[in-house]
């Protein structure tokens, strides 16, 4: 077993639920590296939503809430506010985060509460068998868009930024080093950090939308399509069609973090509640 797996994984919960070749395994691997390098394991409080990606934290020996579909951010909000020293990381998928959970997502970002939200985006509802998601590309064929998706997808990074998130980054599973850096920056950033990871789904999205269930080919596609946020700025809009803009999209340090604001807002004469419950 990998030494990091030995150190951090809940052995009894193995094997992983992910399909062979799933990008979420890469995200788990990189997250463990970030935890190791930052030496933050005792401070972690992890929350997973529903879907393949929501399972990710359940394999760690940390304190974990595996919650309801779409509701990871409000659970994480309560958890964070009872002790702002916690490093609360939310693992979610595109359907969980901006489909059913869209409202919670924008309000979490609006509050600028110090959560690190890692959203694995495979452009499809993977665990339920490949249905259309709010991130499925236009014309994408899924089990519930058999004639091609007629809806426009979200740009979730733009959504996060517009809603008030203060750290926004996007990478793919073909960018492990960059993703590691982003996760570390996101956890260090005091505010709502949103890290989108384009994650290959060979079983559903690959097979039905990309025409291949070979994870290697899917990673090659990520590399081919990726364009840095810096280069994208000087690229004409029509040339960005079908491209994945990667990099640190937004980083704002001036805006105050919510749990700090809340704790500072307590009246000076307020009795200390350390003794409860």
């Amino acid at each position: 077993m990998h030494p990091l797996a030995d150190k951090y994984l809940r052995q009894a919960a193995l094997p992983l639920i992910f399909c062979p070749g799933c990008g979420d395994g890469t995200v788990l691997n990189i997250f463990l590296r970030a935890v190791e390098e930052m030496d933050i394991f005792p401070d972690l409080a992890l929350v997973g939503g529903i879907g393949c990606s929501g399972w990710l934290p359940t394999y760690l020996r940390a304190d974990v809430l595996h919650v309801l579909h779409g509701r990871a951010i409000p659970f994480a909000t309560g958890l964070k506010l009872t002790d702002p020293r916690r490093k609360v990381v939310v693992f979610t998928g595109d359907g969980d985060c901006v489909g059913i959970g869209g409202n919670h997502f924008i309000h979490g970002a609006r509050r600028n509460i110090d959560l690190t939200v890692i959203m694995m985006n495979n452009g499809i509802y993977g665990m339920t068998g490949g249905q259309v998601a709010p991130t499925t590309p236009l014309h994408g064929r899924t089990q519930t868009s058999p004639y091609g998706n007629i809806e426009f997808p979200f740009d979730v990074g733009d959504l996060a930024r517009a809603a008030g998130a203060t750290y926004v980054a996007r990478w793919t599973t073909a960018h492990p080093k960059q993703l590691l850096r982003a996760i570390k920056e996101g956890i260090e950033h005091a505010g709502f950090s949103f890290i989108e990871v384009l994650s290959q789904c060979p079983t559903q999205a690959g097979r039905y939308m990309e025409g291949t269930s070979d994870p290697g080919e899917l990673l090659t596609l990520f590399k081919k399509r990726a364009i840095s946020v810096e280069r994208a700025r000087s690229t004409a809009a029509q040339d960005l069609r079908g491209r994945i803009i990667v990099g640190k999209i937004h980083h704002l340090t001036e805006k105050k973090e919510f749990s700090k604001t809340l704790y500072e807002s307590f009246p000076a004469e307020a009795a200390d509640n350390q003794d409860h419950p």
Partner: protein
């Protein structure tokens, strides 16, 4: 020093929650429960407690559940439509042995119904609102004093049973102002910490009583997995294991039904020699008691059984009553939901009469008296 106040039932719920150690509240304004949210916003910061107005009812209960594992005694409050939205969180709490108090100040329904009028139409939603098999505890205050006392009790029961506990108040209790007495100190059940060492701690292994070995707070080293999926004793998913998953569902149900005797909370008035009994809960319990007294004045042997805990249903107490009385009257501000429960227990031994009342108004003592005689 005992504090004597003239306040409404919603304020009494807030004061009860504060006295019981509530230090986290997340809510969303809804009539007729709004004053609970507003008063929590005022009072919690005074004790360094967290108040949050969330984006919706679902987020409110989920934040409270997160806070419960973060170490706080947590609460949310709502009315009918919001109570419906909270149901998935209530199921999650039941499934994960999470203590939470949900106050539902009932208004008329269905749908958005009658926001400013009272009802008792959510009593079945309280018990059966979420999907799957699970059990809850529900308390039904009939006065402002009881709104205080039973909210304190709700927090204590949530800690003892590690379960969602409902305070089923109603608009009449919520908005009636009357005198209450608040003792300087109330009995408060503190959260039980695990007895085992971190190394030996098994989060979901029940004792012979069906309880668990204490509830750790996150980030104290226990590394606990709290999973809404059916799980084994370590919290690891076991939906694919029929025995393990069935065992969990049985345990969470029996944790409540198996302690029905301890959870019995009824008040009896002159039932010893009664031939007619009124069984009531919440607001209608008050005209019921009055009607019983009137009936006694006219020589009718009438008595009253008031339920302060509606779920688990006080079957044994009602069963014993059915052996003695000829007639049972069940006044309710709904179409007769608890009437059916009483009839189920009576099994034809006593005549059970439903007294439904809709529209938002409570039964008058006269109306109940007419049925008694």
């Amino acid at each position: 020093m005992v504090q004597t106040l003239v306040i409404h039932g919603n304020e009494a719920c807030v004061r009860g929650a504060m006295a019981a150690g509530c230090r986290f509240f997340a809510g969303y304004p809804i009539t007729p429960a709004t004053e609970i949210t507003e008063l929590m916003a005022r009072m919690l910061p005074q004790v360094r407690g967290v108040f949050l107005q969330m984006e919706d009812e679902i987020a409110s209960i989920c934040a409270a559940l997160g806070a419960a594992w973060g170490g706080a005694k947590a609460c949310t409050a709502t009315s009918g439509p919001g109570f419906t939205l909270k149901q998935e969180g209530i199921g999650w709490a039941a499934e994960t042995d999470t203590p939470i108090v949900v106050i539902d100040v009932m208004r008329g329904g269905p749908s958005t119904g009658q926001p400013t009028s009272s009802s008792q139409q959510d009593v079945m939603q309280a018990k059966y609102g979420s999907h799957g098999d699970y059990e809850i505890i529900a308390l039904t205050p009939s006065s402002v004093q009881e709104a205080f006392d039973l909210t304190v009790k709700a927090f204590n029961l949530a800690e003892i049973y590690r379960n969602p506990v409902m305070v089923l108040s109603d608009e009449i209790v919520g908005h009636t102002r009357e005198k209450i007495r608040i003792p300087e100190q109330v009995e408060v059940v503190r959260r039980k910490k695990p007895e085992s060492s971190i190394k030996d701690y098994i989060p979901y292994r029940p004792t012979s009583q069906g309880f668990l070995d204490g509830m750790p707070t996150f980030n104290q080293g226990y590394g606990i997995l709290v999973d809404g999926q059916l799980h084994d004793e370590w919290g690891i998913r076991a939906g694919h294991k029929p025995d393990v998953s069935a065992g969990l569902v049985e345990r969470i149900c029996r944790k409540i039904t198996g302690h029905a005797r301890e959870l019995l909370d009824v008040e009896e008035y002159r039932l010893d020699d009664a031939e007619v009994a009124v069984i009531a809960y919440g607001s209608p319990a008050r005209p019921s008691l009055r009607a019983t007294k009137e009936a006694r004045h006219t020589g009718v042997k009438a008595g009253c059984l008031k339920m302060r805990i509606l779920w688990p249903f006080p079957e044994t107490a009602i069963d014993q009553l059915c052996q003695r009385v000829k007639k049972i009257i069940v006044p309710e501000m709904n179409m007769g939901k608890i009437y059916r429960e009483v009839e189920r227990v009576a099994r034809g031994r006593a005549e059970v009469i439903s007294m439904p009342k809709l529209g938002g108004e409570m039964h008058t003592p006269q109306e109940i008296f007419e049925k008694i005689k």
